[in-house]
Symmetry: C2
C-alpha cells in the first residue's frame, strides 16, 4: 500500500485541482462514476461475494451480513444515488455575503471546498460511493477507511471510482482507499494534520472516542443519540400515542429513535397504560422505576416491563426498549434531559405555547421538536439532499450535515491600492 503520508500529499494535490473545477466538470465525473459502476456490476458482486463468504466463516450475524450484502438491485441503487448527487446544487463558489468597507474596499466571503477529508466508517459498502460522490461534488479529496468486513467490496468500488475520475480528466487520487487492514493506519490518518483538514467518523461510540482521543485534526463527532420525548400536561394524548410509537418503533436501530419517555405526573395514570398497550403491539420492552414501574406493571395487555437500572437513562437503546419516567413538571423534564441527553434530538408534546417555547429555549440539542417525532433529524428529511453525517458537537455544523457543511469559506478583499491606516 502507498504510505499514508504519500496518500495525504496526493490527496492535497488532487484537492488543489478539484477546488477550481466547474460544476459541469464535477457532474461529468459523477456521471462517469455512475456509468462505470453500472458496467462493472458483475465484478462488484463477485468481490462482495468474497466478503459475504468470509463473513459467514467468521460467524457474522444474518442482520450484519445483510447490511454487507450487495445485490444487483443494490448496485443499481448506488448508480441511482450517484446520479442524484449530480442533481444537487453545488455550494462551491457561492458568495455568502459582500460589503463595501468604509475605505471603499469590497469584502466578500466565498464558499470553497474544505480540502482533504478523512472518513472512517463501518459495515455498509454503499458508504464508499456515498461519501466519494459527495466529496467530488463539493471539490474535496477524500481518504476512505472502511470496515474490514467489506474490504473487497470497498476496494473494487474505490478502484472503479478512481478509474472513472481518471477517464473524466479529474485527478484519480481525489478518492483513495486505505486497503491495508492493519489498524495502525487509522491512527496515522488521525494524525495526518499536514494534509487532512477534517475527520468524519461514521460508526459507534468507540470509534468516535478513538477519533476524539487520537486526532490532531478537527473531528466531526456525532451519531450517538439518547433521545427524549416529554409529554406535557396539556398534550393531545391521541396524537402523542402516534408520535411516541413512531419515534420508538419506526426504525429503532438508528440514532434519532426514542430512548426515554418523560411523562408529566398529572397525566401519567391515564397515559402510561395507553402507551404501554400501544407499544406492546410492537413488542417494546419498558424500563421504569418507582411509581411509573408500578403503574406499568399493573397494566393489562401492556408491554413487558422491567425495573430500570442505575444507568438505564444513559443508554442509547438502538432497539425496542424504552425508558419511562414520571416527572413533576416541565422543569424536571428539562433537568433530566440536561443530565442524560447526548444533545441529538429531543421533543416536547404540549398544547401550551409557553411551555413549548421554554423547552425549545432551554433544551440545547442539535434538533429540538415541538409536537413531532424525533425521527426527523436526518439530512434528506431536512431537505439537505444528502447526509454526510449527523454532528452532535457544536463547531462547524450541528445536526444533519449536507453538502454545504463540506465547504468552508475564504474572505476576498478587492481594493485599488488600499493600505491600512
Amino acid at each position: 500500500m502507498t504510505s499514508l503520508v504519500k496518500m495525504g500529499r496526493l490527496a492535497r494535490e488532487a484537492a488543489f485541482e478539484l477546488s477550481s473545477l466547474s460544476t459541469d466538470a464535477k457532474n461529468n465525473a459523477l456521471e462517469m462514476i455512475a456509468v462505470q459502476l453500472e458496467r462493472n456490476a458483475e465484478v462488484i458482486l463477485e468481490r462482495n461475494a468474497r466478503d459475504i463468504e468470509a463473513g459467514k466463516r467468521k460467524g457474522l450475524s444474518p442482520a450484519l451480513l445483510d447490511r454487507l450484502l450487495l445485490t444487483e438491485k443494490r448496485v443499481q441503487g448506488l448508480v441511482a444515488d450517484t446520479r442524484n448527487v449530480i442533481k444537487l446544487e453545488d455550494p462551491v463558489g457561492k458568495i455568502i455575503d459582500t460589503r463595501i468597507m468604509d475605505n471603499g474596499m469590497r469584502l466578500s466571503r466565498r464558499r470553497v471546498p474544505i480540502g482533504v477529508l478523512g472518513v472512517i466508517y463501518e459495515a455498509r459498502p454503499n458508504v464508499t460511493v456515498d461519501i466519494a460522490t459527495l466529496c467530488i461534488k463539493t471539490g474535496n479529496s477524500v481518504i476512505l477507511r472502511g470496515g474490514s468486513e467489506t474490504l473487497n467490496s470497498n476496494k473494487i468500488l474505490a478502484e472503479i471510482i478512481s478509474d472513472a475520475l481518471d477517464q473524466a480528466g479529474i485527478p484519480s487520487k481525489a478518492v483513495q482507499y486505505i486497503d491495508d487492514p492493519d489498524r495502525s493506519h487509522v491512527q496515522k490518518l488521525l494524525r495526518l494534520d499536514k494534509y487532512v483538514d477534517m475527520i468524519i467518523p461514521r460508526g459507534g461510540q468507540r470509534l468516535h472516542d478513538l477519533c476524539r482521543e487520537q486526532a490532531t485534526i478537527p473531528v466531526i463527532t456525532g451519531g450517538i443519540g439518547i433521545c427524549h420525548i416529554y409529554l406535557d400536561e396539556s398534550a393531545d394524548r391521541i396524537r402523542a400515542l402516534d408520535i411516541i410509537e413512531n419515534a420508538k418503533v419506526q426504525r429503532p436501530s438508528v440514532c434519532n429513535a426514542l430512548d426515554t419517555l418523560l411523562v408529566h405526573e398529572s397525566v401519567a395514570e391515564r397515559f402510561l397504560p395507553q402507551i404501554s398497550k400501544r407499544l406492546a403491539l410492537s413488542d417494546v420492552v419498558l424500563k421504569a422505576k418507582g411509581k411509573a414501574l408500578e403503574m406499568l406493571q399493573s397494566t393489562g395487555d401492556g408491554c413487558v416491563v422491567e425495573e430500570a437500572g442505575a444507568d438505564d437513562f444513559d443508554k442509547e437503546w438502538l432497539g425496542l426498549t424504552l425508558g419511562v419516567k414520571i416527572v413533576a413538571d416541565l422543569d424536571e423534564a428539562i433537568m433530566h434531559i440536561r443530565e442524560h441527553s447526548t444533545e441529538h434530538s429531543d421533543s416536547i408534546l404540549t398544547g401550551d405555547e409557553e411551555n413549548a417555547e421554554k423547552f425549545v429555549d432551554r433544551v440545547n440539542s442539535a434538533a429540538v421538536y415541538v409536537n413531532a417525532s424525533t425521527r426527523f433529524t436526518d439530512g434528506s428529511q431536512f431537505g439537505l439532499g444528502a447526509e454526510v453525517a449527523v454532528s452532535t458537537q457544536k463547531l462547524h455544523a450541528r445536526g444533519p450535515m449536507g453538502l454545504e457543511e463540506l465547504t468552508t469559506y475564504k474572505w476576498i478583499g478587492r481594493g485599488s491600492g488600499h493600505i491600512r491606516n
Copy 2:
C-alpha cells in the same frame, strides 16, 4: 484552587443559565463590569505593579514589560472596551433560516451560544477582559488561562468580573480563571471534553501545536501567518510601493504582516531597486537568492540584503525582515504560495482582471486580496466589531472571528403531531 473538573461543571451550569438571558440582562452585566473595573482601578494597578516588578526581576525585555503594563489610561481603555461590547449586536436568538417542509412541519435554525469555552493566552492582561466580555455578550461561559507573567493582574481582573456578574444577578462562575501556574492544568483543560466545547489558543506556534496534540476538544488554531504579496507584470508599481510598505512596516510584529514578496521577472529589474529604497527608510532587511539577491545587492541606498537560507521562505518574520523572490509568472507565484503559505493572508497586485480572479480562485488562504495590503485581516477592519481570534483552520470559522463565531445553532422543528413515514 478549585479542581478543573469542578470548574468545568460550574461553567456548564452557568452556561445553562446564560443561554436563556435576554440581551438587556447581558448588557446590564457588562455595564456592571465596566463600573467595577473603573471603581477598582487602584487595586488593578497595584496588582499589575507586582507583575511588572516580578517581570523586571526575571529580566523580561522592556518591550514585553510594556505589553504587560497597565496604566490608569489603559484601565480606562478596558472600561471603554467593555462598554463597546455592550453596543455590539447580540447574535444569540437570531433565526438563520426557516422552511416549511413538504409535510407542513416548520423547520428553522436558531443561533445559540456554544456553551463553555476554554481560552489559553499569553502576555497582555487586557485579553482577560476582552474575552470575558465577548463571552458574556454571546451567552457563553469561559475558563481562562493566562500567562504566568500577568498572574496577579489576571486574577484581580477575573475576580472583579465575577463579582460584577454576581451583582448583576448572573452566575459568577460564567467567568473562571485557572490561577494555579502549574502547567498540568493546561493539559487537563484540553481534555475536559465533558464540559468544554471549544478551545481557543491565543499565542505562538508552540501553544497551537500543544493544543492540537493534546486536546480532545475542538481547537480553533490560527494566528500564524506567513503572508505573501505577488507583484504581477501589470501592477501599478507606484501603488505597489505603498501597499508593500504598509504590509511590511505598519506593524511588523503581527500575523497579517508581510513575510515574502514575489515579483514577476519582467518587472523585477525596475521594481526591486525601488522597493529596496522605500523599505530602507524603515530599516527593513531583505532576504533573497540568485538573481534577486544580485539585483538587490547592486542597489544603492537600498535595504541591507542577506542571502536567504534554506527555510527562510517558511518563516513568519514578526519583524522588519522580508523575503524576496523572483518568479517566472503567476503560476509560479501560486505554486510558491501553495508550498509556503500558512493560508492566512495573501495578496496579488495586478492590473489584469483575469490574473486577479485566478489568484483569488487558486490561492486558498483565509483572506485573499487584490490590490490591497495583507494587514486588513482583522476583526475590527472586517467590521465584525470584535476579534476573538484569527482562525487559519478550515472548520467552523476562517480568518477573523467575531461574535457570531462564538455561537452555533440548533434546529427547531415545529409540528402538530408530525410523524415520519
